[in-house]
Symmetry: C2
Subunit: 208 residues, 2 copies
């Protein structure tokens, strides 16, 4: 429901850029497809095209008309979700101020996004060829690792564990928070609270 028109969808159009700007109802259906697919894949990583079309309230053929294959749909979904996150990342000045505060606000500002898309992304990660997945992710992961590396140098983050593990920790806890929201044990706000507090403790340099 956020970024619908410009992203990478235009690449599906034939040949040169300005051929036909797509009709309004098509645009509307594409949005419905993306929304439905996100929730469907979130519920069930093996969701079928039939299932998704039904959830979007359109015919299966129409679905294939917009996304030539299941894989294409997954890829587009992942691209859009990660693009949204990247937008948030780039909106905040990562190299300014204390790194732990930066990570904190970063998590806070992207939590809604993550909470909504994590499970879908998990599905996509499993269904797409490994290299494609990596290509989609490198941007964000490297940004994350850069922030964490800086934080370590400044003493805001612990230095006794490899940075890839710290990144993994963040990732895993975000995932866990999302799961508990889905399981009904947390509201989205409570989960963010817990996530924030736990990450702070987990990443801070240990004091023995």
């Amino acid at each position: 429901m956020d970024s619908e028109q410009q992203n990478g969808a235009a690449k599906a159009r034939r040949g040169s850029s300005a051929h036909h700007p797509r009709r309004a109802d098509a645009e509307r259906n594409i949005s419905a497809i993306l929304a439905a697919a996100t929730t469907c894949f979130g519920r069930n990583p093996n969701a079928s095209m039939t299932e998704i079309a039904a959830a979007a309230g359109i015919g299966r053929v129409t679905l294939y008309g917009h996304f030539s294959s299941r894989e294409a749909l997954l890829s587009e979904l992942m691209e859009r979700a990660l693009a949204d996150v990247a937008t948030v990342l780039n909106a905040t000045d990562l190299d300014e101020g204390p790194a732990d505060e930066r990570l904190r606000t970063l998590i806070r500002s992207s939590w809604q996004l993550l909470d909504r898309n994590l499970r879908m992304l998990h599905a996509a990660r499993r269904a797409l060829p490994a290299e494609a997945v990596h290509d989609h992710h490198v941007g964000i992961l490297s940004t994350m690792e850069r922030l964490i590396t800086r934080g370590r140098q400044e003493g805001a983050f612990r230095d006794d564990l490899p940075s890839h593990w710290l990144v993994g920790t963040v990732y895993a806890l975000v995932q866990a928070a999302g799961d508990q929201v889905e399981a009904g044990q947390f509201t989205s706000e409570e989960a963010l609270e817990a996530l924030d507090a736990t990450l702070a403790s987990a990443l801070r340099p240990p004091t023995p």
Copy 2:
């Protein structure tokens, strides 16, 4: 390769208990199936029976001869894995000594087991009916939660977050450690080290 003969497999035999103790080659094949299935499901949660039979080095029909359905196989796998963990749990006196130390040794002593089985368990959890999964898990989860609750009362664990979140945190980080081992970023020992250190920080009461 650990517990092969006694567990719940006997239930597959017909009627009364002592009918026929199963031949040696059958026993051997069952072990091969369980081992192969564990690694197959670990790699791919949707692994097919054909795939598993091939990995076990036997015919597909033989596989069905021992496990009447895919679901039965998953269920048996989960049962055995969790039984092994439960054995470790019950072997240590959970109600004695400081809770954080107990959790520490608990994680240490079951790490090998967890590392080997976590991904398979994830697959089983997704493919089995929810209630069956819950039945398999209640024992371990409640034990875990009991330990954590005690630790909170003693001040060893943080009290500012709900205990289900703390359990989830442990679970998520164990999972993350397993993933990083599988991704080749950690040896099993390094991962255990990192896991241990991170859990200690994450569960300790915060000191602001």
